[in-house]
Symmetry: C2
Subunit: 333 residues, 2 copies
DNA sequence: CTGAAAGCGCTTACAG
DNA sequence: CTGAAAGCGCTTACAG
């Protein structure tokens, strides 16, 4: 009971007068074991709080029971809440399957940190996120034959991924804005390279099509990544008399909000604004900004489950999550 | 060269016609080895890109070469940049010593996630942070005899820690504000339970004493943790005709800034404000807010080095970092 | 259903 | 300076 010496499988075998193989099999449930001996072992184990050495088990099975998570070095600037929730989803699911999570931070190009985990055989598989790494990492992992799951989408049929249903979510938010009577919405985004922006754009367009509202391509702007660019875009938007601004993500939205504030334009009285991606910056902004909220934790859980399925040799399929919410706030009142 | 089969120490021994012990010793440098054989082994290793199995090595040495990092579940709300920088410092230092970092997320009370790492013997030591966990975690780790390092301070002589020189930093910032001619500064903080707030207060007081400026205790407020409380405090501050507000951390500061904005008070024309802890909220605030910036990465590196020293049996001592900066911004112009 | 034995890939006293 | 052997704490074919 209260003794805190560390038992080994051999100790249990000796105390119970059976072999180590039998103890091992009783624990794992593999092979045939009589109910009676199995229970004896299990009882002993729980009453003596025996914990197998995951390390030794792993060595024997050629596994580590560790998962690697690749984090971008600048995750806190981009979307702290996303990574936090994602991590907690991953850790939770991993723990539930007796796995632990190792982290590796990279600027998205530098492979050395990820490489460590792989060549040192510290992990059984890896989770990366589209926003954290570029194709090199994917390429590296494929080449090294390391099982991995991508958070975000990939056109590559060999890569397993989980993603938010960005298109559908954006369609829905746009739909709601159209229902509210907005008719000339500008769409403003960052890099057109980001695959996610294509999905978001599609959602925006589809909502218009479905309701038969025309889109003015003069109100479509990409590559808005710094204040000057945002200011220029805002000028055009005002000149074109748009009745609202839809931003593809929270950082673009923060830029636009700053511009509006500088020009002393009242939100939502003079112009409305919404974002396809939420963050504290928008939630606590004055006024608070309407946006989409995705369930990052669910995304993490899903990615982890997929990776575990891969590792276990179970059927694995990509997963598109519909767990988003449209958060209507002051900015579109 | 280009072959990608995984070598074991036994393969090397066979190919080189020596024993595995000799190979092992050549790599580790332990024991006596002739320069000649050592070089042969090392050459073989680098030309064949041999990577020892850290897992097997660990099992033989009763080590894991893993460090555990306990993260608070809500780190992204509190200070994402702090944890990010800290993590990157830890990961970097760990990697430099052939260690990897496992994470464990907890709400600060729930020990189960941390317990996993310990009872499963997945890590050699653990890094926790004062802002992430309460005394239970410390207590648990002490009891389990797991080497650990605390980021933040502890009065417990058995606890190893690294911390910022909060008192000195706050003294310096206050000093500068006094030099600028401010004479009636209010000091506003959150929970008085937080040990760090005591240090910050001391720094504030010391600066006043050293310059012979009296402190009005009517201008000292703690437990300011939500908007209503902040509004009340602001009323008093204005009534008492303070010429500035010094906040003990960024969230208190954000609360005060919101209040000021609501009352349409101009910063810094009508009242100045500064914070003892920086974050993006203050940096990007309009106007930007003067504050202290601590070097979280250095803190992480330092914590990691201390833990590694502990694990290696090297002399280990607590470390107080002086790497802070006073960032003067618009709010105190 | 159970056990003896070999194996996972290293390290390290011990002997020479 | 080097090697044979035992050991780290598990698993798992193989034989019974």
């Amino acid at each position: 009971m209260g003794d805190n010496r560390i038992y080994r499988i051999e100790d249990i075998a000796r105390e119970l007068g059976i072999s180590t193989s039998t103890v091992s099999r009783s624990i794992s449930g593999k092979g045939r074991i009589s109910q009676a001996t199995r229970e004896r072992v299990l009882d002993f184990i729980s009453s003596h709080d025996y914990r197998p050495s995951v390390q030794a088990k792993g060595l024997a099975q050629n596994k580590t029971y560790n998962l690697g998570l690749v984090l971008p070095l600048d995750f806190s600037e981009r979307s702290p809440a996303f990574f936090k929730d994602c991590m907690s989803g991953i850790c939770e699911t991993a723990a539930g399957n007796n796995y632990d999570v190792m982290i590796s931070m990279t600027d998205g190009q530098d492979l050395s940190q990820i490489s460590r985990l792989v060549v040192n055989r510290k992990v059984d598989g890896i989770i990366i996120s589209r926003s954290a790494v570029d194709w090199r990492v994917e390429h590296f992992l494929k080449e090294k034959n390391v099982p991995f799951v991508l958070i975000g989408s990939s056109p590559d049929p060999d890569v397993f991924f989980v993603d938010n249903n960005n298109q559908e979510a954006c369609r829905e938010l746009t739909d709601i804005l159209l229902m509210k009577g907005m008719r000339r919405m500008a769409l403003v985004g960052g890099s057109a390279q980001h695959r996610v922006n294509e999905d978001r754009k599609q959602g925006f367009f589809r909502a218009h099509q479905e309701l038969g509202v025309p889109i003015d391509l003069n109100l479509f702007f990409m590559e808005v990544d710094r204040p000057v660019k945002a200011a220029e875009v805002l000028e055009k938007i005002l000149r074109e008399k748009a009745d609202g601004i839809v931003c593809m993500d929270d950082s673009v939205c923060a830029l636009m909000v700053d511009c509006l504030r500088e020009k002393r334009l009242q939100i939502p009285q003079e112009i409305r604004i919404a974002s396809f991606y939420d963050s504290v910056r928008l939630e606590y902004n004055i006024p608070s900004v309407t946006s989409l909220r995705f369930d990052a934790k669910e995304l993490g859980q899903s990615a982890c489950r997929l990776l575990l399925a891969l590792l276990g040799g179970y059927p694995a399929k990509n997963h598109i999550l519909d767990g988003y919410q449209v958060i209507l706030r002051e900015s579109t009142k």
